[in-house]
């Protein structure tokens, strides 16, 4: 067993074109993602405009840079460009990972599974020798790496499998499979799509079909991609699935593209070589057009020693093991996961719940009994209000912020209560937070939040 592992780690090789392809695909997607994010004005509206940012537990120290946040994005953009062309690869990917993750940590309001996915992939890539082939680094060093250890490629494959598989088993629940929720709500309101909008999407049977197809797809696709005889038909489904999600849910952003390009890594390395050759031809044509000396991208010198941190395999194994365990942490908490969201994030629960809330805060003087309600729009952006209203950790953090704010304003004996109602997956709204609990007496922690009122219903499933 031990010998097999050491053989696998030290001897088994894959062609370096696979990693190079992945580096280029990922880097360029990130490049466009950052530009897209910028062009939509989200740097301003999500990171600069808010007076207050919701922090991840343990990351309260992360500061925003105000209008200097743009510098973070510029550096992020440069890093992603360098990753793409393979210039100073190791430094570029590490700086991309740090910058991107830092931006995400500024405000958890913007949490999205695919931002977390991006952080995870870039983290893994920090340990991979992905810059040794088809890169500017080759040109500089005058050498290239033709072969990379297989664990490097496999760790990325395994991670993508985790993402799909966990997204799949998360769908094995009674809301998704037995009530076709929340897809029923979402698809029915897509009446404006041409042809199918007014017809198929209005049918409950289609909602069930879509739910079941989505679940089966997510659970099976990793295996189909891994098995050499089915991987191409699997890719066909990958495209269908992600194109459909993009059509139905345009707000899903870059996620479909990341997954479509990501799964190409499962292909035979011959295909990656073909793709790289195409890119090379385009680059050459461009350099001729631009009158630059013909660039020899693939040098003939081979380099035998592969540069990667020695501890990388062990480190990645631990990381992937954590990825396998973390989605199950919800089992440590009582109550409905979709309702109290304790252990919901970082678990590949994608598009699983339709949740809306209205949460108002009552600031009370415990001695005089006088109280008033806070106008959330005085403190939060509309997007923050929306996200805060149905997530308990946001509600708690905001309550403390309000407490501090009014204490600074000279109020005494402050208590903060909520009047909070939430609706989940088409159920009628019900009270969400115990209105009699002064949230200032509660602290954020990994312990169960007993001030969340239980859901008047049961959701069965994994």
């Amino acid at each position: 067993m031990g010998k097999r592992i050491s053989n696998y780690l030290n001897r088994k090789k894959s062609h370096a074109a696979t990693l190079a392809f992945f580096r280029i695909a990922f880097g360029s997607l990130m490049f466009f993602s950052v530009i897209r994010f910028w062009s939509k004005g989200w740097i301003e509206s999500l990171y600069i405009k808010p007076n207050f940012h919701f922090k991840y537990f343990g990351f309260e120290w992360v500061e925003d840079f105000g209008s200097y946040t743009y510098i973070l994005f510029i550096l992020c953009l440069i890093s992603s460009l360098f990753v793409t062309i393979g210039f100073k690869y190791r430094i570029s990917i590490i700086s991309f990972f740090i910058l991107f993750t830092y931006v995400e940590l500024i405000d958890k309001t913007t949490y999205l599974n695919h931002y977390y996915l991006t952080s995870c992939i870039s983290f893994i890539m920090c340990f991979l020798p992905a810059g040794g082939f088809f890169s500017v680094d080759n040109l500089i060093r005058g050498s290239k790496i033709e072969e990379v250890p297989s664990w490097a490629v496999d760790s990325l494959k395994f991670f993508i499998c985790i993402v799909y598989f966990y997204a799949g088993i998360a769908k094995i629940n009674s809301d998704w499979l037995l009530d076709a929720q929340p897809l029923s709500i979402w698809l029915k309101s897509k009446y404006d799509l041409p042809i199918i909008g007014q017809t198929l999407l209005q049918q409950k049977s289609i909602h069930y079909l879509a739910s079941w197809f989505g679940m089966i797809y997510d659970v099976c696709i990793p295996f189909l991609l891994l098995y050499s005889r089915t991987k191409y038909i699997a890719f066909f489904f990958v495209i269908i699935f992600h194109v459909l999600t993009k059509v139905f849910f345009p707000a899903i952003g870059m996620f479909p593209y990341i997954m479509i390009f990501g799964t190409v890594i499962f292909f035979d390395s011959k295909i990656h070589i073909i793709i790289l050759n195409r890119i090379e031809r385009i680059v050459k044509k461009l350099s001729v057009l631009l009158n630059i000396k013909s660039i020899e991208l693939v040098k003939k010198n081979y380099l035998n020693s592969i540069h990667y941190p020695r501890f990388a395999p062990l480190f990645l194994s631990i990381f992937l093991l954590i990825q396998v365990i973390i989605p199950f942490r919800y089992a440590l908490y009582p109550g409905e996961l979709f309702w109290n969201e304790q252990g919901y994030r970082f678990s590949w629960r994608v598009m699983l719940i339709e949740k809306r809330g209205d949460t108002r805060f009552k600031v009370k003087d415990s001695i005089s009994g006088k109280f008033f309600y806070v106008r959330n729009e005085n403190f939060l952006t509309p997007f923050q209000i929306k996200q805060m209203s149905f997530q308990p950790d946001f509600i708690l953090e905001y309550a403390h912020y309000l407490g501090e704010h009014f204490e600074e304003k000279g109020l005494k004996n402050i208590q903060v209560f909520t009047d909070s109602f939430v609706a989940l997956n088409g159920r009628s709204s019900q009270r969400f937070i115990n209105p009699n609990v002064d949230l200032l007496t509660k602290k954020e922690s990994f312990l169960n939040k007993d001030w969340i009122l239980p859901l008047n219903d049961e959701i069965n499933g994994l």
Binding site: K40, W42, S45, L46, T110, L112, N113, H114, I185, W186, K188, S189, K190, Y191, D192, I195, I196, G197, Q198, T199, L200, Q202, K204, Y232, F236, I239, I240, V243, L244, F249, A251, I252, G253, M254, I271, I274, R278, V350, E354, R356, G357, D358, R360, K370, F372, Y373, V374, R375, T381, P382, F383, I385, K386, D419, F421, V422, A423, G426, S428, S429
Partner: protein, 396 residues
Amino acid sequence: MKKYSLITPILAIFLAIQCSSEMEEDIQQVDNTTPATSTDSDTDNSSSDNSQTDDTVSYNHKNMLINWVDNIILPSLDNFNSSLTVLKESTETFVNAPTSETFSKVKEDWLASFLKWQYVEMFDIGLAEEIYYKNRVNLYPANVNKIESNISDQNYDLDESVNFSSQGFNSIDYLLFGIGENEEEIILKYSNENLNYGKYLTDVVEKMISLTSDVRSSWNTEFRESFINSTDNTATSSINKLVNDFIFYFEKGYRANKIGIPAGVFSDNPLPDRVEAYYGKNYSKILALEATEAIDNFFNGRSINNLENTDLSIRDYLDYMEAEKEEKLSEKINNQLIKIKDKLSELNTNFSQQITDENLQMLITYDVIQANVVFLKVDMLQSLNISVDYADADGD
């Protein structure tokens, strides 16, 4: 080869979708025409189920928009406009000959017009939104100092935003009820032309008329067409915007402005001088009740000039989207509206007095209204899958 393998599956999906739904498309086209003609004929199609009984047919969003515009929004604006014209006439008569008689006619017409306004305020869309129509017609409390300085300086431009709180109904409220201790004193101020109260009153009324005529003509020229054709479910489409406007009005213009703020819900102490039509004293309740009727009518899709005549509106849309649900949200909302009306009816005709006497009743009323905010903002927006205004970001 690689290129084609990427394109073919995408083509295949669209081909498959196209073929499988061609038949349904035909059905849909046929059905589209039937409800459309029924609204055009403008007869008593008192039932609201004309386009949703058939399982294969989706809800007819365009007919809902047409009903909103043609039977609710435009008639409300027309009614409001007519009432303003009457107010203008009586104002002129009064200013030319300030007597107790002409004065009470102005007050009467001011109230009549103010009541009609309650049907207009929630439609803060298009030009109305651009020119801050609702702020210029019904911002309160009125800025009394600004009004007085405008009158004494005779140097003001009502189009400037600093003057938004020194025009509109609440400024007229002050001009009719607040500039003197009693009626005689007030009439006396108007009798002295050098004091310029009459001129200011006329200017304010005329400004409301010109704003209203701008809003009406924008609806009647191009806006109606673009409004009824924007049937998509996007952040900028008509349904989303108007539903958002409706909820925003319910929460702010109605719940907060009329009840919450004066009752001190958002402040340390009650603010009884923040009620609508504060100086007139006895109008805050009747205005709030009228606004409730307007909300009720819009939600249920009643034609403004013939309440028996209902057509597609939010209620029907909800019933369509929640067809499988046993507990009808539309019923909950309507029941809550009844409770609100009951609660409002129990209050003093003068909210300001009610707040001073027994504010608890105001706070209870506020809670009854707030319960409907939850139904509208949480349950309804979830069922209709309409996103809250201007909260733009990716989601997953």
